[in-house]
């Protein structure tokens, strides 16, 4: 049965995390030399864990790893690199203040006189590899100044310079535009022709069909089998991944927007490095509509959202909720105006992970009279509230007393959503509301969001997921370079290709067209 051409063979891998989640249960996985092999599965299926084990970042409880016919123990990434394995993480591991060349040689710096960094050599090394693999990067540019697509190239180069023959890419297209994705695929095929092996983690069906030779599907920590890509249909894959057909269409009635709730007027902001992040942004969101903000990450969306919740303040311009300015007013005041917020970074802002579910659910309302009697909490009322929310929002847990960090990502997000949606919000700022969570939870959250908007809430949706933003938004603005470059009043006819062109800055609407998003 031993297949000669197999470069990686993982047998019976079991991994249990300290929070008790068995991320891998007796998983078998193998990859042939010179193929592009997809590792597919929902979030939380155990793909990333399996690859972290292969890259030496995690140690399995059971199982063995064979590379090029030799049984190995990968105790650290260094051990994996020595075996010719490279990994490009979903979240880039780069030092923003260093240049591209410095990042590429970090940890293996060419030296001058045994002590000093030989920068010229680092640059020539970068250029040599960039040339050989046809990956265009600027060796002298600082990483914080380059676009996401180029950062990814830097990550790939880092792995190649270290001698990677087997390249693991963890959801490489998640942050890329359509055009950048096409470019990445061209590069990957080029690697393959040069004899490299690529493991491609993804859950995007179209991409997988387009580029891979074989695929392994994982579900709930187990392998569902290996297939030749040509032999399975997209429907088959999706059924194997989630055990049912994915319905990502959200039913929604046409919007009937009324009064303006949020108005943003000519907001400018420079970040701490003096880079202009927002250059005169104006728009408004009305009751009963979902306005989407699309854009490649790093084009000012994050800065804007921070300001809406007074986590940061604009250099100039005005942000008003129902006519009341919010800058400098503090989060309690803004919440008092009826604003709720699903933060992008849920572990930092969304939850107190070591606290219980109940404690997390009451964080914005624990001071309300209905939960207090004199100096004491009304524990009954609090338990009741928490139990009701757990039920309404289908949070899977043993009890409200369970620690939030013991939950899966999707359920943690449901805790956040349950709190933020249940306070009768007038304005909901949803920043990447379904990033990194399973299909079931995603569907649930999207449906709730539409429901609330149809009941009269104003919703501002920020998402890097093109599908989501086109599906959910009633109308949509595109951010590029800290400015609004396009406004689409109706998203139903919009394609991701068209959006991509605006997101990449290839196209831009006229100021008159964009100005329509301000509803006076």
């Amino acid at each position: 049965m031993e297949d000669r051409s197999e470069v990686v063979r993982m047998k019976g891998i079991t991994k249990v995390y300290p929070n008790g989640i068995a991320a891998n249960q007796s998983v078998d996985f193998s990859v042939r030399k010179g193929e592009i092999h997809a590792l597919m599965g929902e979030n939380g299926a155990g793909k990333s864990t399996l690859m972290k084990i292969l890259f030496g970042l995690e140690q399995p409880e059971e199982g063995e790893i064979v590379i090029n016919g030799e049984k190995v123990v990968l105790s650290s990434p260094n051990a994996a690199i020595a075996k010719g394995i490279g990994m490009v993480h979903q979240h880039f591991m780069l030092v923003p203040s260093l240049t591209v060349a410095e990042n590429i040689v970090l940890g293996m710096e060419p030296r001058k006189r045994g002590m000093f960094l030989d920068y010229a050599r680092a640059v020539s090394l970068t250029e040599e590899y960039a040339e050989r693999y046809n990956l265009q990067v600027d060796p002298h540019a600082k990483v914080m100044d380059i676009p996401v697509g180029m950062k990814q190239k830097v990550e790939i180069l880092k792995a190649l310079v270290r001698g990677a023959q087997i390249l693991i890419l963890d959801e490489p297209t998640a942050v890329l535009t359509t055009q950048e994705t096409t470019e990445l695929f061209r590069e990957l095929i080029h690697f393959k022709e040069q004899g490299h092996t690529i493991i491609f983690i993804s859950h995007k069906l179209k991409e997988i069909k387009q580029i891979t030779d074989r695929l392994t599907i994982m579900r709930a920590g187990k392998s569902m089998g290996v297939f030749d890509t040509a032999d399975v249909s997209e429907q088959d894959i999706s059924r194997l991944m989630v055990g049912r057909d994915v319905v990502l269409k959200v039913e929604k009635e046409p919007p009937s927007p009324t009064d303006t709730v949020l108005s943003v007027t000519d907001v400018h902001y420079q970040n701490e490095y003096g880079k202009q992040m927002l250059g005169g942004v104006s728009f408004s969101v009305r009751k009963g509509e979902i306005l989407g903000i699309a854009g490649v990450e790093g084009n000012g969306q994050r800065e804007l959202v921070e300001m809406l919740f007074d986590m940061n303040q604009p250099d100039s311009g005005a942000i008003e909720v129902e006519g009341r300015p919010v800058a400098g007013k503090g989060q309690a005041y803004i919440r008092g105006l009826g604003v709720s917020h699903i933060p992008e970074d849920r572990m930092l802002y969304g939850v107190a992970a070591a606290g219980t579910i109940e404690e997390n659910l009451i964080a914005d309302r624990f001071q309300k009279p209905r939960f207090n009697k004199g100096p004491l909490f009304k524990m009954d009322a609090i338990h009741e509230e928490s139990d009701r929310l757990i039920e309404d929002y289908q949070i899977l847990c043993r009890s409200g007393g369970q620690q939030v960090k013991m939950l899966s990502g999707g359920n943690i997000q449901k805790v956040v959503v349950a709190r933020e949606f249940s306070c009768a919000p007038k304005l909901i700022i949803a920043d990447q509301p379904t990033r990194g969570i399973d299909v079931g939870a995603t569907e649930f959250i999207r449906r709730k969001l539409v429901e609330l908007s149809r009941e009269g809430a104003a919703v501002l949706l920020v998402s890097a997921d093109l599908n989501e933003i086109i599906e959910l938004s009633d109308s949509l603005i595109v951010f590029y370079g800290g400015e609004i470059v396009a406004y689409f009043e109706d998203t139903s006819t919009l394609t991701d290709l068209e959006m991509g062109e605006y997101m990449l800055g290839l196209k831009r609407q006229s100021p008159e067209e964009i100005r329509r998003v301000i509803h006076a």
Binding site: V16, Y17, P18, G20, A352, A353, L376
Partner: protein
């Protein structure tokens, strides 16, 4: 939840055993009568009723400082001025015990209240320096201890001192201010009851009120708390003021229950013990009396060892240091914990599989 508690208890017991083992090594090296020394350290404190009263009596001040530390550490405020606050609280209570004229009980209560007020206000210094100027409360509170000490010694020497006495000590407290003894013919005062009541109240404060909730949430994740609309700066100040009040109360109860004059001219060390106790109790006020009992027992054991054998009482510092080290070390026994977790997960998976099979049979 219960499993992790079980693990914590096992881990605590293991840390204590390692500490005693280390102490044993030293005792065997330095002592001519090692077995007698060990007997005095471990068993002797329980051999006489009188020793047990002493243990209980020594628990009183450190329960208060333990509670004070608990409240502050729960909000991640590493304020170390509990030591100075105990000292200064004792001084304020002593002064009130000399100069106020009030009926019994009320007088003692007034002395304690004054100590709490002064020490609570004193804690505004490190707290406001932190929230207004961003100064580390750890550094400023540490320095505050010595300011309080020197200020206290000055007040004692120039304003409270009884010149008729050979050593520097205050005038005698009025009888109305003294906290009476609980057990006749011992030094154990009603202070132990006050300490236990305080423990219950602090537990309720931390787990059943909006202020305690805010303190704990800020300690777990300050960004989250701010984002949720909590008043972070006010809570950070408040928890340190409450901590100061508790420590000041401890000083007052100790002075009025154990002494008849104020005669501390050095920091008493109860604040430091309070930190150790809070760490042993994992910052949960309910466990503070237990941890305080353990510390007082160890202290008594070391005192008896010094009294009856050739091993000095400073052995306590070694034992304390080792326990401290292993308690603070997150990784200690983490492999064992991981094994427990793996076993549980496997059981759960097996259970689910069995359930499915059972369902399959039914179908």
């Amino acid at each position: 939840m219960r499993k992790s508690l079980k693990f914590e208890i096992i881990r605590g017991a293991a840390a204590i055993l390692v500490a005693l083992a280390v102490a044993m090594v030293f005792i065997f090296i330095i002592s001519d009568v090692p077995f007698q020394a060990l007997y005095n350290l471990i068993v002797a404190p329980f051999t006489r009723m009188r020793y047990i009263w002493i243990i209980l009596e020594r628990m009183i001040p450190i329960i208060f400082t333990g509670l004070a530390t608990c409240v502050m550490f729960n909000a991640n405020q590493f304020n170390l001025a509990g030591e100075g606050a105990v000292f200064f609280g004792g001084l304020v209570a002593g002064a009130c015990a000399i100069y106020l004229r009030l009926p019994p009980v009320l007088h003692a209560a007034a002395c304690i209240a004054a100590a709490m007020l002064v020490c609570g206000l004193t804690m505004l210094i490190p707290a406001l320096l932190k929230t207004k100027l961003g100064a580390s409360e750890m550094v400023s509170s540490l320095m505050l201890n010595y300011i309080l000490l020197q200020l206290g010694v000055y007040i004692l020497s120039y304003h409270l001192a009884d010149r008729t006495q050979g050593a520097t000590m205050s005038h005698k407290f009025l009888d109305t201010a003294i906290i009476p003894t609980l057990v006749p013919k011992t030094n154990l005062s009603w202070g132990i009851v006050i300490a236990l009541v305080a423990t219950v109240l602090v537990s309720i404060f931390m787990y059943r009120t909006r202020w305690g909730y805010a303190i704990r949430m800020i300690g777990i994740n300050q960004s989250f708390s701010k984002y949720s609309g909590m008043k972070v700066a006010a809570t950070v100040v408040m928890c340190q003021v409450v901590g100061g009040m508790l420590a000041g109360m401890g000083g007052a109860v100790e002075i009025l229950g154990y002494y008849d004059r104020f005669k501390w001219r050095q920091l008493p060390g109860y604040g430091w013990d309070g930190i150790t106790i809070a760490i042993l109790a994992k910052n949960n006020p309910i466990f503070i009396p237990l941890a305080a009992f353990f510390m007082a027992y160890l202290r008594r054991g070391c005192d008896l060892m010094q009294l009856n054998t050739d091993v000095p009482a400073e052995m306590l510092s070694i034992i304390q240091a080792v326990i401290f080290l292993f308690f603070a070390a997150e990784q200690f026994l983490s492999k064992y914990r991981h094994k427990l977790v793996v076993r549980d997960a496997k059981d759960e998976i097996a259970g689910k599989a069995a359930e499915k099979e059972a369902k399959g049979v039914e179908a």
